[in-house]
Structures are given as C-alpha cells and as structure tokens.
C-alpha cells in the first residue's frame, strides 16, 4: 500500500469512529458546563441507536438516501426525551448526578432490547439498508494528496460533527447564552443573584446533551454497527465522557480528544490491514481503545479542571 493509501484508510476510518464520539462528547461538554454531570451519555447513546435503527428499518423505502440523516435526528429527539429523566431528577429533585446517570445507563439497554422484542419478536434487529456509507466531496476530493486523504470516501457525519463543534464552541464562548450557561456550572448561587435562570439553563444543558448524545448513538448504529442489539453501545458513551475530561470541558478540546479515541478504535478494527500493526495480536488491538481511555483519564483527570460547580445541585432558597 502506498503512503497516501494508508493515510486515507487511517483518516477515513478514524473519522467514521470519531463522529459518534464527537457528537456525544459535545453533549457532555454542554451538560457539564451547565453544572450537571452526565455519566448517562452511554444510556442516551443506546436510546439514540435503538430509535434510529427502528426508524431506518421502517422508513428506508420512504426517504431513501435521506433516511440515516433523519434517523440521526430521530435518535437525537429520543435522546433528548430520555435525558429529561436526568434533568428532572437532578435539577428539580436534587438527586445525585452519578446515581441518576447510572439509572439511564442501566435502563437503556434492556429497554431497547425489550422494545425490539416487542416490535420484531427477536433479540436484535435486521441490518439496515440505508447506512451512512462513504461520502466524497465534489471538487475537494480531486486535490492531489489532501483530497484522497481527507475528502474522498470519507465520513459525512464526521465532517458535520466538526462543523457543529465550531458552532457550539462559538455558542459557548461568544454568546450571552453560552456565558450564562457556563456561569451556572461555575457558581449557580452567584448566577441566581444576577437574575440568571439557573434551572432553565441547566435544563438546556442536559437536554442539549441528550439531543447530541442521541445523535451520537444514532450515527454509531447507522454508520458502524448497522443494526441494534444489546451490544451495539458498549462503552462509547464513557469514551465520550473521557473525551470531555481530556478535552478540558471545551468543545474543540472534546472534538480533538474524540478524534484521538476514534483513531484508537479504528486502529483496532483496521489494524490487520496496516503494516506494523498487523503483527500485533488482535486481542491487544481490541482492548487498546479501552486501555487508552483509562490511561488518558488517569493522566489527565487530576490535572484538567472541571467547571467549579459541576455535579453540584443548586437549591434555590425561598
């Protein structure tokens, strides 16, 4: 294989595996910047994956090529509704954020499988026909060297994720909404004295994370797994959470961290096609993404600083 061929294989598969992580991690960034820790991203992704596959199987004939995109949107909406549980529990009822998030994670997979059983009467769905597949940019794909690596046969969801990242970075750091959202994660008491609606903004943070996490799960299902089963989402939500921390709670950082984790995941899948990596036993390649996640967390967790009031309930006095 030529170097360009190797690089284009690496980059495109990194992009494919990163896209779900980027969307989900961006959700985590928003939730945690508003002050609500969201370890329920895993469960939210599961619900997104489940609903997008059901939508895709049902409406593939109606919407054709548009189906996976609409499926992602449906996944996002279902994720948003699912995250309402977390919002109500933590914001209104002052539940512990970790416990509430764990509830989402414990609830989503069996709920998904139960519904699959009820709808299709089997343990996992059939494979979808309309998946994201590969996308080549017109014109850009023809640029020598760069074209084949970045723009030819690449992942459209990943490019969308990168654009969304930039928009969400701008929203978080350059607008009134972003400033106020961050103030709720930094010092909700102070925000309240300034007339800022802490509960409302925390709802916004959690629901945005539900929407983006749902999209993340949907993209994983419709671009990678191709169906839904109990083992569709196995740790991607936690990887996204690690990306939030590794990326210092910043959208751009979270995106770069997601690309790194996506790279680690893709290496484990395409390693046997690459020189050098094909000599490493497959089992090591498969555990690599998880080991890297743990190592990164250990190295960075103490050092990067979370929003000061992340995970703390705010109880308004009367």
């Amino acid at each position: 294989m030529s170097l360009v061929a190797i690089l284009s294989l690496l980059v495109s598969s990194t992009f494919v595996y990163s896209a779900p992580l980027i969307f989900t991690a961006l959700g985590g960034v928003y939730s945690e910047n508003s002050g609500v820790t969201n370890i329920g991203l895993e469960g939210i992704m599961t619900m997104g994956a489940f609903s997008s596959i059901v939508f895709n199987l049902t409406f593939a004939d109606t919407f054709g090529k548009l189906t996976p995109w609409l499926g992602a949107l449906v996944g996002g909406i279902v994720g948003l509704i699912f995250s309402l549980l977390h919002a109500v529990a933590t914001i209104n009822f002052h539940a512990d954020h970790i416990i509430s998030g764990t509830v989402l994670n414990l609830m989503a997979p069996p709920l998904g499988v139960f519904l699959i059983k009820a709808i299709y009467d089997k343990g996992q769905t059939a494979n979808i026909n309309q998946s994201f597949g590969y996308f080549s940019f017109p014109v850009l794909a023809n640029i020598p060297v760069i074209g084949p690596i970045f723009f030819k046969n690449t992942s459209a969801p990943a490019w969308t994720a990168i654009i969304v990242t930039i928009i969400l970075w701008w929203l978080l750091y350059k607008t009134r909404f972003g400033l106020r959202l961050r103030s709720c994660g930094e010092n909700p008491q102070a925000a309240d004295t300034l007339g800022i609606n802490v509960y409302g903004l925390r709802y916004a943070g959690v629901l945005i994370s539900g929407f983006l996490g749902g999209i993340g799960g949907a993209i994983f299902a419709e671009a990678i797994s191709g169906n839904f089963s109990i083992s569709t989402i196995v740790g991607q939500g936690f990887m996204a959470l690690a990306a939030v921390i590794f990326g210092k709670w910043n959208p751009i950082g979270a995106m770069l961290a997601s690309l790194f984790f996506g790279f680690a995941q893709s290496i484990s899948i395409i390693g046997n096609q690459l020189p050098f990596f094909n000599h490493i036993p497959a089992v090591y390649m498969q555990i690599a993404p998880y080991v890297i996640t743990i190592v990164v967390l250990v190295l960075f967790f103490g050092k990067s600083v979370a929003p000061a009031a992340d995970g703390q309930n705010y109880i308004k006095s009367k």
Binding site: K174, T175, R176, F177, L179, R180, R182, S183, E186, N187, Q189, A190, A191, D192, T193, L194, G195, I196, V305, P307, A308, S317, K318
Partner: protein
C-alpha cells in the same frame, strides 16, 4: 414631589422562618448620599434584612419604600431595576471567567447573538476611572487578589446602574492597608451621590466610614445613632445587650518550661516554592507568642508543618522535648497539641455532622468513647452535653448538624473540642475570623485563661489588634522569614506594618 432625602425606608419588617423570627419589626432609613452602618452580632438578622431589600427573600410582613414609593422587591431583578446593588460577603464571582465577563454577566451587551465585549470594556473602563477602581478587565478573577475581586463586585453593581449599594461584611477578608483603601472608595462613592449601607460588626470601621449607624439585636431594632455621638463601648453594649470588655486585662503569669522549640524550619508550599526559609523560635508555658504578617507569607505552611499536615524539608520541631518533625498528625495531637484552624468550615468541622459528633472528633477512637471500634453513643452525647454547657454553645440540641449553627457557635465547638483535651500547646490560627465582638471577647478570654493555666499558645493572626492585645511577644513573618521580634508594649502599629512589609528595624533582636 417625591422625598429625595430618604432613598430607602424599611418599616416594621418581619421575617419568619418556620416560627423563628429572624427579623422582628425592624425599621431602617437610608438617606441620600450617606454611609449607613448596619450593626449587629452574627445571627442578629442583618443579612436577612438585606436579603429582603435585595429581593432574595420575601418579608413575612412590613413595607419597603424606595425614593418615597411603595415597592415589592420580589426578585433580584426588581432590586436591580430600583437601583439597589449588593456586594455579598462571599463574593458572587466566577473564578474561571475574566473580570469583564464577571461584570457583564446577566446584563450583557450583545450585537446580534454575539457578546459585544469591546463596548462593555469601554464602559467599564470609564466606570473604573470615575471611581478609582483599578482592575485589569481581561484577567481571570481566580488570579487576582481578594481586594481586587471586591472591586470587581463593586464595578458589577455600578455597571448595573445601582445608586444604592449594600456591602455585607466587606472588610472581613481585607488586610489593614486594603481596608483603608476600601473606606476611601466608599467615601468617594457617597460623595458622588451613591447611598451606601455597610453591614458590619467592626466598631472601628463604623467610626472611620459611616455617618449614621442602625443597631439591631436578636432580630429587633435597637435604634439609629449619629456615629459622631456614640462611643465604641456604647455601640458594643447596644449590639450585644450587655457590658463588653473591650480591653482585656492580662495578668502576670510565671513562664514555664519551653514547650515548642522550632529550629531552622524550611518548608516548600504546594507549588514547590520555598514558603518558610529557615524559621527559628521558641515558646514557653504561660506565654502567648503572636505571629503577625500579611496573608501568604508562610503562615499556612507554618501551621500545617507544626500540626503534621505538611512535610518539613529541613529543620526541627520539638514539642515538649520530643522531636515531632514530620510525625503523623495523630501522634502530634496526642503529644499535647490543640489546633484551632483558620478555616473552621473546611478544616475545623465536618459540617453535616452533628454537634455531638464534631465534639468527639479528637477522641472518638479512644475509650470510653468507643470500644472494639464500636462507638458509645451515650458517652459521646454526655461529653457533648457537658461541653455545650461549659463553653456556652448556643444550639437547640447536640444532634443538630453544625452547619445550622452561627459562625460564632461553630467556632466555640472547635474551641471546646480542642481546649477540653488539656493540651500543652495551643495553635490558634485566626481564631476570631469573621466573628462578632461578643464571640471575639469570649474566645480571647478563653485563650488568656489557658495562658494562666500555664499553656503555651501560638497565635497566628492577620488582625493586628488581636496580636497586640493578647501576645506576650510578637514575631513578624515576611516572605518566609522572621523579619523581626517585638514586645507589644514596646511597639506600634506603624513599626509592625513596616516589619510586615519586610523592612527590618535596626536593633531588632531575633530569638
């Protein structure tokens, strides 16, 4: 015609918290362009009253007039629109935000969806210039000094167009120099036509800064006086409701043996920078050694090293003739050390725990408090009951979480726990921080009593008055070194101030 002299009138304000009347028929009048001090002990209801005025709490009864009009301040936004701004005791700031972001938060100027930071910065720079509030708008709030943070808070309320400013215990966190600057600032604000309410329990500041003073006690109005007409002592009596001893008598005590002997102590701080650079001193029984200095000159590290909380890099700590350098905390404690930490809520108490449990924290593991790792509740409770009575801790029960108690009573719990163990060495770090006159008097008396019993007391404080009143000898810490040792009767605030800034005086004898 509206009445322009009375900008605020609060009439017969009552605030009832489930049967407890925090405010009980309080009256307050603020004139245009004056500095009105609101004086009262901790828990007297000052903060409740001001929270009502700033829209954070709703009064149970009573009426509020702003510039002659009846108003209902149902939330902070209403207060803001009425031109009322509050600078809270615990700053309401976002440490990771810039000064500029902090000031505009909640009151942002936008162009389209985007924040217009440039325009905001111009406006804020004008305000800073106008009132002499210098602070770099692009610095992160977490990186500037406490005094600068306070300026940010003042700019915040001015930026919102406030002309009635409420300051809640504004000087509690400031150094003497910063206090002088602060008083200058509020006087300028008043001259510019702002009306100011100053919540405080520091009598000296009232004398320096305020025109009139309204005193409240136990939720009730005591009266309003012209500052020029009252003395410190009479104010203290009005506030506490009994005679207060402002000047303590310090009896002669015969010095005992050396209890604490520190030689060439060198310690690095959290960042690995030398915080103590070879400090040597000793302390004998029946003696109070005051450690003066500006915050951050090695005091934290000194106390942490003495109590075993921080590693000593070089030097020696001898307590009662035994080497306690880098020993475990419990071993040091059991060798006869009582520790009253500077931050009572963070290091002195476990806030959600009950009064009884907090009082047992130093001996819960010993008999008779526990046996075979099982706690003996009845013993712990009896012990607590005894200390609550002996140290006059005001609580409705020993099973109340200490977070429900006032600052003064929280401090009394620590004092009770530490002094009851009959330790030879008492390390008291800022023992009266944020407390009112009555509580300060109480704690000072306790320390003097221990001195009379022949205990050795190391008093580390940023309050010069406290150091001057209690100490037998004073050492001054500057930049990790002892910049001088003086006797309180043979020194002055000016000399101490110089030593605190590192100017060594000739003829100073180092111990």
């Amino acid at each position: 015609m509206e009445n322009v002299t009375n900008v605020i009138e609060m009439r017969h304000i009552v605030k009832d918290f489930n049967g407890f009347k925090a405010n009980d028929d309080i009256n307050l009048v603020l004139h245009h362009g004056e500095v009105l001090a609101l004086l009262g002990e901790n828990g007297a209801g000052k903060s409740t009253l001001m929270s009502i005025l700033s829209g954070l709490l709703a009064p149970t009864a009573g009426e509020i007039l702003v510039r002659g009009h009846h108003v209902t301040v149902k939330n902070p936004t209403v207060a803001k629109n009425l031109g009322i701004g509050m600078v809270h005791q615990h700053f309401m700031l976002m440490n990771s935000f810039t000064v500029l972001e902090n000031i505009i938060l909640g009151h942002e100027i936008t162009r389209g969806p985007k924040l217009d930071l440039k325009k905001a910065q111009t406006q804020i720079e004008e305000l800073s210039k106008c009132y002499g509030l210098n602070v770099d708008p692009n610095k992160k709030v977490g990186e500037i000094t406490v005094a600068q943070q306070q300026r940010v808070e003042i700019l915040k309320v001015l930026y919102r167009g406030a002309d009635i400013l409420i300051f809640d215990e504004p000087t509690a966190v400031l150094t003497p120099q910063e206090i002088t600057e602060f008083i200058q600032i509020i006087k300028e604000l008043a001259e510019e036509g702002k009306s100011i309410i100053l919540i405080t329990h520091k009598l000296e500041e009232i004398k320096r800064a305020a025109d009139r003073v309204t005193v409240i006690r136990a939720g009730k109005s005591v009266g309003t006086f012209n500052v020029a007409d009252v003395t410190d002592n009479s104010l203290a009596e009005l506030m506490v409701g009994r005679h207060v001893n402002m000047r303590l008598t310090k009896p002669e005590v015969e010095l005992g043996k050396t209890i604490l002997d520190v030689t060439n102590l060198q310690i690095k701080n959290k960042q690995g920078v030398a915080a103590l650079k070879g400090v040597t001193f000793n302390l004998r029984g029946g003696e109070i050694l005051g450690v003066a200095g500006i915050d951050g000159n090695g005091q934290d590290e000194l106390v942490e090293a003495l109590t075993g909380l921080r590693h000593v890099n070089a030097g020696k700590i001898m307590i009662n003739g035994r080497d306690m350098t880098n020993q475990k905390v419990r071993k040091i404690t059991e060798s006869g050390v009582a520790h009253i930490p500077a931050d009572r809520q963070k290091y002195g108490l476990i806030l959600p725990f009950t009064v009884a449990d907090n009082l047992a924290l130093q001996n819960y593991y010993q008999q008779p408090f526990s046996r075979h790792h099982l706690l003996h509740r009845d013993v712990i409770n009896q012990h607590a009951q005894k200390l609550v009575e002996k140290f006059d801790i005001r609580t409705t029960g020993i099973n109340l979480p200490v977070s429900d108690l006032s600052g003064g009573n929280q401090q009394k719990i620590i004092i009770a726990r530490e002094l009851d163990r009959d330790s030879d060495l008492i390390i008291a770090f800022q023992p009266t921080r944020g407390l009112d006159v009555g509580a300060i008097e109480y704690i000072h008396k306790q320390l003097l009593q221990e001195r009379a019993k022949g205990k050795a007391i190391l008093l580390i404080s940023y309050e010069l008055d406290e150091i001057m009143q209690l100490s037998d000898r004073i050492i001054v810490l500057h930049d990790g070194n002892i910049s001088g040792e003086v006797k309180p009767e043979a020194t002055s605030d000016e000399e101490l101030g110089l030593l605190m800034t590192g100017v060594k005086k000739e003829g100073t004898t180092l111990a």
